[in-house]
């Protein structure tokens, strides 16, 4: 009987502690999420200009080593952030995948290590137009003259597509 009493006491204490924690979590969770997205928001708004909201998704990228983050957009799209070494260093970009199975947007964030006038063309509309509108199961054309950089980005986008197909499709 004594043991049961002790167990009930401990259970009540634990339940109260759970209640307190959920209250604290309710207050802090939106702030933590907001802080996580704050740094990326300006970048995401290069693709989404219509006032969409974004949410960071905790994802395990496993073998997809070039992927850095994934964000869910309020309209159901997913945006991947990736970085892969091109000609001179890491090329950082965002690519948006829509629920209809096409690429919705592309934005190059850092191509500062690529050769000006060659690799840097991945940051222009020329490459963006190759990506946007393409079905995700079709291959994206690389740019001749910027082969190393665009191939690196296209390879990394393939990983994003594979991760998307496995988890969110």
């Amino acid at each position: 009987m004594k043991t049961v009493k002790l167990a009930i006491f401990l259970a009540i204490v634990s339940a109260l502690s759970g209640l307190c924690l959920s209250a604290v979590n309710d207050v802090t969770e939106p702030i933590i999420k907001e802080a996580a997205i704050a740094k990326e928001r300006a970048n995401l708004q290069q693709i989404y200009t219509g006032g969409e909201t974004f949410e960071v998704i905790e994802a395990d990228f496993g073998d997809y080593t070039t992927l850095q983050g994934v964000y869910k957009v309020s309209n159901g799209d997913y945006v991947y952030k990736g970085s892969k070494n091109g000609y001179g260093g890491p090329c950082v970009y965002l690519v948006a995948i829509g629920s209809d199975g096409t690429f919705k947007g592309f934005a190059a964030l850092d191509l500062s290590n690529e050769t000006n006038g060659f690799g840097s063309r991945v940051g222009t509309d020329e490459f963006k137009n190759n990506v946007v509108g393409t079905k995700i199961d079709e291959s994206i054309d690389t740019l001749s003259g910027a082969t190393v950089t665009s191939t690196a980005v296209v390879d990394s986008i393939k990983e994003a597509v594979a991760h998307y197909t496995e988890n969110y499709k």
């Binding site: 006491f9 924690l21 604290v24 969770e29």
Partner: protein
């Protein structure tokens, strides 16, 4: 013991780090910069005050057999709350303190004060004890970190914990002669040893002088 004695006890006579040698793990690990030390000191003090108050308040209804698990649940709840709040409002500090925030749960200062003080004393005394001990811990880690940062980098930089880019004050005395190994883990042990040695030396000096005065 008067109320003031309880408060002063933790600060000097029974300073948790320099005298009781409790909570060494975090004191060695987070004392790389003064900013970290202040952040950690505030977090530990907050948890200590709340846990001492709660444990003192429930000391008469907690069955003796399960008091330790109850204390641990209370402390863990408080630490998790502090962790969430720091993650939300001081993200940079949260990142730099890392795993040592959740490890406050097993910081022996907190369980030690719960078991040896709060569970035997009234609410107000426990509050004073927590403030004294918390300030004592903060003082100790700030002293260690100030020494390490000064010797290791040649100067001290204090950042605003709410906004890491805002520097509150910064000075640099002898950058070219800094011994950078003092910012590494080995430097933590050296610094702690040196500081403890100086404090112990001062205590011995005082005790000897008192003895001599008696003989005369």
């Amino acid at each position: 013991m008067s109320k003031l004695d309880i408060l002063k006890n933790g600060l000097f006579k029974e300073n948790p780090i320099f005298t009781l040698l409790l909570g060494m793990c975090s004191a060695l690990a987070i004392t790389t910069t003064v900013t970290n030390a202040i952040g950690m000191g505030v977090a530990v003090t907050a948890v200590l005050i709340c846990s001492n108050i709660i444990i003192s308040a429930i000391r008469k209804i907690v069955p003796n057999e399960i008091r330790i698990p109850v204390y641990i649940v209370v402390i863990a709840t408080l630490v998790k709350s502090v962790q969430l709040i720091m993650n939300a409002y001081t993200p940079e500090l949260y990142t730099s303190l890392g795993v040592f925030i959740p490890l406050i749960v097993v910081n022996c200062i907190i369980l030690g004060r719960a078991e040896s003080f709060a569970s035997k004393h009234g609410l107000f005394d426990s509050l004073l004890d927590a403030i004294g001990m918390g300030l004592g811990y903060t003082l100790a880690v700030v002293v260690i970190s100030a020494f390490r940062e000064l010797v290791g980098t040649g100067g001290i930089t204090l950042n605003n914990p709410l906004n890491a880019e805002q520097v509150l004050f910064s000075f640099n005395l002898f950058k070219d002669y800094a011994i950078s190994s003092f910012t590494s883990p080995a430097g933590a042990f050296l610094s702690l040893g040196l500081i403890l040695g100086v404090i112990e030396g001062y205590r011995n000096f005082k005790a000897n002088r008192a003895k001599k005065a008696e003989v005369k």
